[in-house]
Amino acid sequence: MNSADDDPEGQKEDTAASRAALDPIAKARHDLRNPLAHILGFSEMAMEKAQEKGFNHLKSRLEVIYRTANLMLEQINQGLDAANIEAGLSDLPALQQQLCKLCHKIIEIAQALTRKSRKLAGDMFSSDLARIIGAAQRLLELTETCLPSLGSPAAPPESHPSADT
């Protein structure tokens, strides 16, 4: 039997197969990072605005959102890292549970902040907070749909009678 070094075509197939298997993971990572980027971006801008206007309590609560989103980003980067998954170091159900919990935390804080900021500052923060809530809800949906599908083994291809070509 040839060794891997003597079988470049086999190596190519292995790489292609590995890459195909990893693509859903890369896609999941990509899909989850997008709404997280929005949470980070809007909370950062709202924090700057709160600082400029002297709304220190709003700023500190926005910092909690920002830190929570950063924590989620770290967890996604580690949990959906190809090498970690291949080595069996990723616990996808635990990751899903943790991300859901943190999404709910962000939504609750942002909703409470929306009420509070309206009393203090009118609509100054409403738009940014609405976008944060929207992004967190989107992230929650994605966490509930795309992570479970990564954990299930791929179904074997169905054999069909020869189709028209």
Binding site: N34, L36, A37, L40, G41, M45, A135
Partner: protein
Amino acid sequence: MVKVLYIEDTENNRILVTRRLEKQGYRVLTAELAEEGLALAAAELPDLILMDMGLPGTDGWTATRLLKADLKLRHIPVIALTAHVMQGDREKSLAAGCDEYDTKPFQFPRLLAKIEALLVSSKSRAASKA
């Protein structure tokens, strides 16, 4: 005023980047799709283009190749923006003709530094040709 064209299909990203850049004194034009972006580039001749690589329909790589194939537009520096972090994404973007590459989530100071560096080098290239 320096004009930046941002081609991006996601509204939140357009809002975030526009607000950040406008705060820095840039004028920002936006387009949701590649075709719209290419038309706007031809009409407005921006100083720099931020290109989302994952555009629906014509993607950012194709749009960049089209830009770089156009004699009137090829001089405009393009920064590829992507949330993809697969190995090879950077090389693919540079091979398509992008001048720089950055990933989402944005670290805005990093993106801004890249924008400013490209604008400086683009200006000095234009000056040396004159």
